[in-house]
């Protein structure tokens, strides 16, 4: 993945051959109808795809827009992450790896990765920041129940950024035996490309399910995999593509170009280049970077990126729950919060037809939500 000025493969020399091999293997697999068929079958009979496109009738009426929700919260394990891990899991098996390594923030990717590993008979080591372990306890229990080893990361901000560092270190140490199952569209080539391709199913389904080409397509962005997958389905339409970041982790809105975790992209950093610690109530968006393709889409003007604050996000979770009976993840609620804020205004005029991806469900966030009550 090189996207204009962004992307690349800024990894230690020790990882270069592994990245090469992975890129070749994915290219090969992705062109192999048997691989695609096996993945499609798992997505359907195991992960529960297609996920529905749900009209949010009460909210639509209240906001004066037409809002359709792409329900990744209904996918197995509770988020879109399952799409990616099943693809990479099959790839790891195809590459004869015995083990997967993964980083996780909110734990959704960790749970998904542990799930794919259990299903496909692979070992799983999941790195997770200590702070995230505290605030996403449910997901930690889910991962260990699935047989994964969860390694607490105590360095730095003790969140996703540091977990990613640690996962890459672990990969270097077992590059032959392990596949690094990266959870988002960041990281070195081929990850941003591969993960986007594996998440493309979100956007393609949504486009097929939508009765019209929407005016606006909205998704939350941390690393940005659900947004990348959603956007991929609408890239060739006239729909505006909107990514919504956490105000405390808004790499697009507040970052500068930089290199972190193997790719050149937009990064929250100081004047010298030290990477900043993000600060969001949503562990999955508590990340100072963003996938390089988003940096490219933003620079090219094809997608726009906006930020919402923690309190807007909490209000959005509650509103969606009470109006539509859907408790979404704090991450996903960023997209909802933006729609709630902008509906009827210049950014989202009355009557707009919107497809919004709900990337995951909010069970994991109930304790956080309670603490803010």
């Amino acid at each position: 993945g090189r996207f204009g000025d962004f992307g690349g493969r800024f990894v230690p020399e020790s990882l270069v051959p592994a990245c090469d091999a992975l890129a070749a293997a994915f290219q090969d697999a992705w062109a192999d109808p048997a691989f695609r068929a096996e993945l499609d079958d798992l997505l359907a009979v195991y992960a529960g795809r297609p996920t529905p496109l749900t009209p949010a009738r009460t909210l639509s009426a209240a906001l004066g827009v037409e809002l359709l929700l792409k329900r990744e919260d209904l996918a197995h394990t509770g988020s879109h992450k399952i799409n990616n891990v099943l693809g990479q899991g099959l790839l790891a098996r195809r590459m004869c790896k015995r083990r997967i390594i993964a980083e996780t923030g909110a734990g959704q990717h960790g749970v998904a990765a542990a799930t794919a590993a259990a299903l496909l008979g692979l070992e799983a080591t999941i790195f997770m920041g200590e702070r995230d372990i505290e605030r996403q306890r449910l997901n930690v229990l889910r991962m260990t129940t699935l047989g994964a080893t969860v390694v607490p990361v105590t360095t730095g901000s003790r969140t996703l950024k540091d977990a990613t560092n640690e996962a890459m270190r672990a990969w270097v140490a077992d590059v032959d035996g392990a596949h690094f199952l990266l959870g988002s569209v960041g990281g070195p080539h081929p990850y941003p490309w591969m993960v986007r391709e594996l998440q493309r199913v979100i956007g393609e389904e949504a486009r097929a399910q939508s009765p019209y080409v929407p005016d606006v397509v909205v998704a939350c962005v941390g690393g940005g995999s659900n947004a990348a997958g959603t956007f991929a389905g609408f890239a060739d339409t006239a729909a505006r593509l909107v990514g919504v970041e956490a105000a405390g982790g808004a790499a697009m809105s507040s970052g500068r170009p930089g290199v972190v975790h193997g790719a050149r992209s937009m990064v929250l950093q100081d004047a010298e280049g030290q990477v900043a610690e993000a600060e969001s109530i949503a562990a999955g968006l508590d990340y100072p970077g963003i996938g390089p393709e988003h940096a490219f889409l933003g620079a090219a003007g094809r997608a726009e990126y906006h930020a919402v604050k923690d309190d807007e996000v909490i209000a959005a979770v509650r509103r969606l729950a009470r109006d539509e009976g859907i408790i979404c993840a704090l991450e996903s609620a960023h997209a909802v919060a933006w729609v709630l804020r902008e509906a009827g205004g210049p950014l989202l005029p009355a009557g707009s037809r919107i497809v919004l991806t709900l990337s995951g469900r909010g069970d994991k966030d109930m304790a956080t939500l309670e603490a803010t009550a």
Partner: protein, 336 residues
């Protein structure tokens, strides 16, 4: 420690001393090179440690510019980096510190840092600042060959040697290109993993060093051709003691008159492993083992003693090796 403080204060060494880093070759023939790594800014008196290891026999010093996300470093260096950053040090403040002690520095200083710190101000600006502070080399572990071009250019223009790394998994083809494009020395990553002490040196270290040397020998002519000013400033001459007859036959002197030394790093934890690593390559980089001591409270003098012990062990081994060489060179696979 008093002698070092004196040195730092510029009393023992007159300010008019010639630029120490300009000394291109620090190693006499037959000596295994010892290159300590220090995390810059870890303590207020961090340059005292630098001068202490210099005094203890370092052939060059890697100066780690702390980065928030040191992906390739293990727990020790990461902890040192975090602590330095928590003190509020910056690249600017570190380079300022270095400028201050520059008069006392007689060995090449090589900056070790991550790509984002290089790209944030821009590679040309970054390299210019290094050069201004008397730093003569640069290592960027997350900047593989494929992404290195811009920094290579900027470094060359600033007169800074960009040293590239080779890993055990590097293919022959790629290794050849790294060897031909690396400046100053070639950094052989001894094992797959991050920096940090290990109970035993990986066998991959010796294998890798041998592969690098073989590549150097094969590429010597083209190397000479492609490098107008190889190892312009910091290069440490590769000692001749470990040359195989084949290497000698292929001719290892390019325009620079010497192939670059191969330094083995990652996971060297004490004098014994230093000797082993030095035997595999032309020298050894020791980082985590030293920084662990500093984190645990070692003074500059303590650290100097540690490095001196390594230096002494390497020297003893060198003497034994040259005595052995005549009789055992042919059967010593470790020696390339």
């Amino acid at each position: 420690m008093s002698d070092l403080i004196e040195a730092r204060d510029g009393k023992a060494v007159p300010p008019s001393t010639p630029e120490p880093a300009r000394v291109a070759t620090v190693a006499p023939q037959g000596r295994t090179l010892l290159v300590p790594y220090l995390t810059a800014g870890l303590t207020e008196d961090w340059t005292d440690y630098l001068l202490a290891v210099q005094a203890a026999g370092a052939d060059a010093i890697e100066v780690g510019l702390p980065f928030s996300d040191p992906m390739l470093d293990g727990a020790t260096i990461q902890q040192a980096s975090d602590r330095a950053l928590a003190r509020g040090v910056t690249v600017a403040s570190i380079l300022q510190d270095l400028s201050r002690v520059r008069p006392q520095v007689r060995v090449p200083l090589i900056a070790f840092t991550y790509a984002n710190l290089v790209f944030r101000p821009g590679a040309p600006e970054f390299c210019r600042r290094l050069a201004e502070a008397g730093v003569r080399g640069l290592i960027v572990p997350d900047l593989p060959l494929d992404e290195a071009a811009a920094v290579e250019r900027a470094a060359a223009e600033a007169g800074v040697d960009l040293t590239l790394l080779v890993a055990p998994v590097t293919t022959d083809e790629r290794l050849a290109e790294i060897v031909s494009r690396s400046r100053g020395y070639v950094y052989a990553i001894s094992r797959m993993g991050t920096t940090g002490e290990r109970a035993a040196l990986a066998s991959s270290a010796a294998d890798l060093a041998a592969r690098i040397k073989a590549a150097q020998q094969r590429s010597a002519p083209s190397h000479a051709a492609s490098s107008a000013a190889p190892s312009a400033t910091t290069s440490l001459a590769a000692p001749s003691r470990v040359e195989s007859p084949a290497a000698t036959a292929a001719g290892r002197n390019g325009a620079s008159g010497a192939r670059l030394p191969v330094l083995v790093g990652f996971g060297v934890s004490g004098p014994e492993q230093a000797v082993e690593a030095g035997r595999a390559g032309d020298g050894v980089v020791v980082g985590s083992a030293l920084m662990r001591r500093v984190l645990d409270g070692a003074t500059p003098a303590d650290l100097g003693a540690e490095v001196a012990a390594m230096r002494a062990a390497l020297d003893r081994a060198d003497q034994e090796a040259s005595a052995d060489h005549a009789s055992y060179a042919e059967i010593s696979g470790h020696r390339g």
